[in-house]
């Protein structure tokens, strides 16, 4: 990016100046600033409804005193406004500190000085807008022409590049040069007064190469076929069923049914049902679950780019790393940011993430998955007398306090006597966090291991995440239905 110079205002002299300003008044502070630009293309029925570009700056300054945080957000990147916001944050932290009842410290960390960069094979800056439009148009055309039943198509293309800087009172100074791309494709089909829709997306960190994989090239064809197939799907019958979840759904299940309740901020605030469960067996001994947002995993899936949920460092300057959540059925670790790890006297594990430099870091997941075991999928289905094969998800959520979670599947097939039968739509599944991991009766092999990417919301912030696993079978799940 040509405007990198604006972040160069954070030179050593200015940082020394801030350190002096903070003096002994604060125990910890950090500053994040981002300069970003990007493109959005939104097409409906092969026409552009939005073709846009942006240039944005974001900056957030945090100060901490003995358990109280102050945060100040600004948009003008110059030394005067940064200095005055810095002082405001300190004032806010002091005020907060004067009222709180839970005092704690942030454990000192070694400073980190590093520069990270996403290496795109086809950098976004080399791709002109016409080329991006051509690609979106071709997906729109494929979807629209795939059948007379297709009534409406929509394709959204989003990309962005950013320069990011992180500095803190430990003396860390981290620079990043990031690039992402995401394509969403939606198709509505209509037959005999019934409308059905399907949505698929592909996204990652990198450049235009993200759209070059076979999966990306076939996305619109797949979405169209799915929405047409759903026209003949039946509404499910509610009740208790054994289900086989595909990797995408298994990943969502892990994310919702376990991941959120492992976020240490919810544990400390007594909002998580997994409070005081470290070291306890909360799943069957076969189950191993991790969160690993570190870079370099794209190639293990044969992809020429980095996974959508990966990152170099979190938004508190802690490198991303693999965290074991469940090992052989036993809860090993919570996910931490700087604050929660300090309070529990553990090293942080790199899960303090923010949706932008204008938002405060929260404890968030990255790439959460269940590790594969040994079941072959065909054998797994044959072994299932009666049940439902659930593929892909529409959305999911959880209440970490009561432990009740719910998610909705995109496709569900009845299984009768080990054979896949008719398709059902809008199957909703529900269960309890502490029960479901003890009802997993089979875990698929490495061959079936896969993942999906998406956006996860918490406290008004959205971050990029991935989750996945092999096929898994879960007994005795509550299935919602209209009949």
């Amino acid at each position: 990016m040509e405007r990198e110079n604006e972040l160069s205002l954070f030179n050593d002299a200015f940082i020394a100046d801030l350190l002096r300003e903070a003096g002994n008044k604060v125990e910890y502070w950090d500053i994040r600033a981002t300069i970003s630009e990007g493109t959005t293309l939104d097409f409906t029925d092969q026409r552009s409804t939005e073709i846009s570009s942006y240039e944005m700056t974001n900056c957030g300054i945090r100060a901490f005193i003995n358990g109280g945080w102050g945060f100040s957000v600004l948009k003008d990147l110059n030394r005067d406004s940064i200095r005055s916001s810095f002082l405001k944050s300190i004032k806010l932290a002091k005020l907060t500190r004067s009222l709180l009842k839970n005092e704690f410290k942030i454990n000192e960390r070694d400073p980190l000085e590093k520069i990270f960069k996403i290496n795109s094979k086809l950098p976004l800056s080399d791709i002109n807008i016409e080329e991006k439009i051509k690609l979106v148009k071709s997906h729109e055309k494929i979807a629209a022409n795939s059948s007379k039943l297709v009534s409406n198509t929509r394709t959204i293309y989003m990309d962005g590049v950013s320069d990011y800087i992180f500095i803190n009172s430990f003396g860390s100074k981290i620079k990043q040069n990031l690039s992402y791309l995401r394509l969403l494709n939606m198709v509505y089909s209509r037959k005999a007064g019934i409308t059905q829709r399907s949505i698929n997306s592909v996204g990652g960190l990198g450049g235009f190469e993200i759209l070059s994989t076979e999966k990306a090239e076939k996305i619109s064809e797949k979405t169209a076929q799915e929405s047409i197939k759903l026209l003949d799907a039946k509404s499910p019958i509610g009740g208790q069923f054994t289900i086989i979840a595909d990797p995408k759904l298994a990943g969502t299940l892990i994310h919702e049914a376990l991941g959120h309740a492992c976020e240490a901020d919810l544990v400390l605030s007594k909002e998580s049902i997994l409070k005081e469960k470290i070291g306890k067996e909360i799943a069957l001994p076969d189950i191993n679950i991790v969160d690993d947002p570190s870079m370099g995993q794209g190639k293990t899936f044969g992809l020429p780019y980095e996974l959508f949920g990966s990152y170099f460092i979190d938004d508190e300057g802690i490198p991303s790393q693999k965290t074991t959540i469940i090992e052989n059925g036993v809860l090993k670790n919570y996910l931490h940011n700087l604050e929660t790890s300090s309070r529990m006297n553990l090293p942080p594990n790199g899960h303090g993430r923010a949706s932008s430099s204008s938002a405060k870091p929260q404890v968030r997941m990255g790439f959460t998955y269940i590790e594969p075991k040994d079941w072959n999928i065909e054998e797994l289905i044959q072994d299932t007398k009666n049940g439902i094969l659930c593929k892909d998800f529409l959305y999911g959520y959880t209440n970490p306090t009561t432990g009740n979670f719910q998610f909705k599947c995109k496709f569900s097939y009845k299984i009768e006597n080990g054979e896949i039968k008719e398709l059902m739509r809008d199957v909703a599944l529900s269960g309890m966090i502490l029960e479901v991991l003890k009802k997993v009766s089979a875990i698929g092999d490495q061959k079936s291991f896969s993942y999906s990417d998406g956006i996860c919301g918490k406290g008004g912030q959205s971050v990029r995440v991935c989750d996945g696993g092999p096929y898994i079978r879960v007994d005795d799940i509550t299935v919602g239905g209209l009949n």
């Binding site: 552009s48 003008d76 907060t96 009949n483």
Partner: protein, 458 residues
């Protein structure tokens, strides 16, 4: 923001370069947004975090005579960046596809209705110390209760300024405030140790209307009602929706289903239902932008077009004129915009959104409505939403209680329910006199017959 920048001058400058730079120019619009906010957060029932921030930005939307659109935005309010952004928008327009359905941006021809109470001056003098006083109300309620063990919550004060200019002569600006307080209360049963939570929030345009104590008390009540959770058996039952349930299952889905865009693209289960009965006679719904002081009220919409009151459903009939439009969908259908262009910020192209969506209250008292239920569910909330294309709903009851012989009993665990919304509308048998206002919604209690409940008890 840099106060030396004259916003009007900047906007006119942007429009001028847009007009000058392209020969097939049809129209252009500049939107400038400026906001300031203050936020205090409570965690573990203690003040934990305070934040102040500012945001501002400019966007330009430009159309060629063949209807192709270009859009660009920035939050860097400098003349040279704005100039670049306008040029980018023109470039975007140049590469867009023709759209014969695009008619025009709004013209400056309609009078604006006065709407009072959108801006509360007291925000100007609101200090962080004052804001903390509101949060103290939350904390006190939790500390004083024996079963309450923790609370998360927050207080936010926001002020927004928006300026909209277009090349058809629209030139409007407005200032608005909103304040929000919320509480998520955690309670623990003193005998069996069961933990549950309850949530409540309040959003108002006037600071004096924010009541932290009541918000926390309501959250506490919800949390306690959510204790003693049990699984129940699968069965068809009556369901009483609390105001939040009414928003989840009636108002929110209707808000999406009456959006003209979802009709034009045939994405709504109400496609083809205009002029027809879609449910019980008891259903009367308006979308009213002109109520003094309400969150969804406004003088003009996201394109600067005058807002008004619209009848949507009358005695169960979805009116012919019951769709919500912005200028694009209105032009496509050959009608006038309803003033429902909505934009979250300067960085988004106007979509379509409700003003204040009001389900008219009925005549029966809520106690009586519950007393009449022999066996049923009081549904306080669900985090699920129906499939708007089909109207099918199946989801989890996040918070609900069993009703037996007119009395509210234990809470529910792992209980789901399913119904098509048209059946739900048909099966409404009573609506309460009492109603609650949450954000842009007015929601009474609603009783529905014959709902499929799926329990996890075998």
């Amino acid at each position: 923001m840099n106060e030396d920048i004259d916003i009007f001058e900047l906007a006119k400058f942007a429009i001028k370069i847009a007009e000058k730079n392209y020969s097939n120019f049809k129209c252009a619009e500049v939107f400038i947004g400026k906001s300031e906010y203050l936020n205090i957060e409570v965690e573990e029932n203690s003040v934990k975090y305070s934040e102040i921030g500012r945001n501002h930005g400019i966007s330009i939307r430009i159309y060629r005579s063949n209807g192709s659109i270009g859009f660009a935005f920035t939050n860097i309010l400098k003349r040279n960046v704005v100039e670049k952004i306008v040029k980018n928008a023109i470039k975007m327009m140049h590469v867009g596809t023709p759209d014969p359905d695009f008619k025009n941006l709004p013209e400056n021809s309609k009078p604006y209705s006065m709407v009072e109470g959108l801006y509360d001056k007291s925000i100007k003098n609101l200090s962080i110390e004052d804001a903390i006083e509101h949060v103290k109300d939350l904390i006190k309620t939790c500390s004083e209760d024996e079963q309450a063990i923790s609370q998360s919550g927050d207080f936010t004060a926001n002020s927004n300024l928006s300026y909209i200019f277009n090349s058809n002569g629209i030139e409007v600006s407005g200032e608005e405030t909103y304040f929000n307080i919320s509480s998520n209360m955690i309670v623990k049963d003193t005998i069996n140790g069961e933990v549950s939570n309850g949530y409540e929030s309040q959003m108002r345009r006037k600071l004096a209307d924010i009541d932290g104590t009541r918000t926390a008390e309501e959250a506490l009540k919800n949390a306690k009602r959510n204790l003693h959770r049990k699984k129940i058996k699968t069965k068809k039952m009556q369901v009483v929706l609390s105001p939040k349930g009414t928003i989840n299952l009636i108002l929110n889905p209707i808000a999406s289903a009456i959006n003209a865009e979802s009709h034009q693209y045939k994405r709504s289960f109400l496609v083809g239902k205009r002029g027809k009965k879609i449910g019980s006679d008891l259903i009367n719904i308006d979308d009213d932008a002109l109520i003094s002081g309400r969150i969804g009220s406004n003088i003009f919409d996201g394109e600067g077009f005058p807002c008004r009151n619209k009848k949507i459903i009358e005695h169960g009939q979805f009116l012919q004129s019951g769709l919500l439009h912005n200028s694009y969908t209105a032009g496509k259908e050959g009608v006038e915009s309803t003033g429902n262009a909505s934009r979250r910020s300067f960085s988004s192209i106007p979509s379509i959104g409700i003003s204040n969506l009001i389900l008219h209250p009925g005549t029966i008292q809520k106690e009586e409505l519950i007393q009449n239920v022999k066996e049923g569910i009081l549904l306080n909330s669900t985090a699920d939403s129906p499939n708007i294309a089909t109207g099918d709903f199946s989801g989890l009851i996040s918070q609900g209680n069993l009703i037996q012989n007119g009395e509210i009993k234990h809470a529910l665990n792992e209980t789901m329910f399913g119904i098509n919304l048209l059946d739900l509308f048909e099966n409404i048998t009573s609506i309460s006199k009492e109603y609650k206002i949450y954000g842009p919604y007015s929601a009474p209690y609603v009783k529905i017959d014959n709902v499929q409940i799926i329990g996890a008890q075998s």
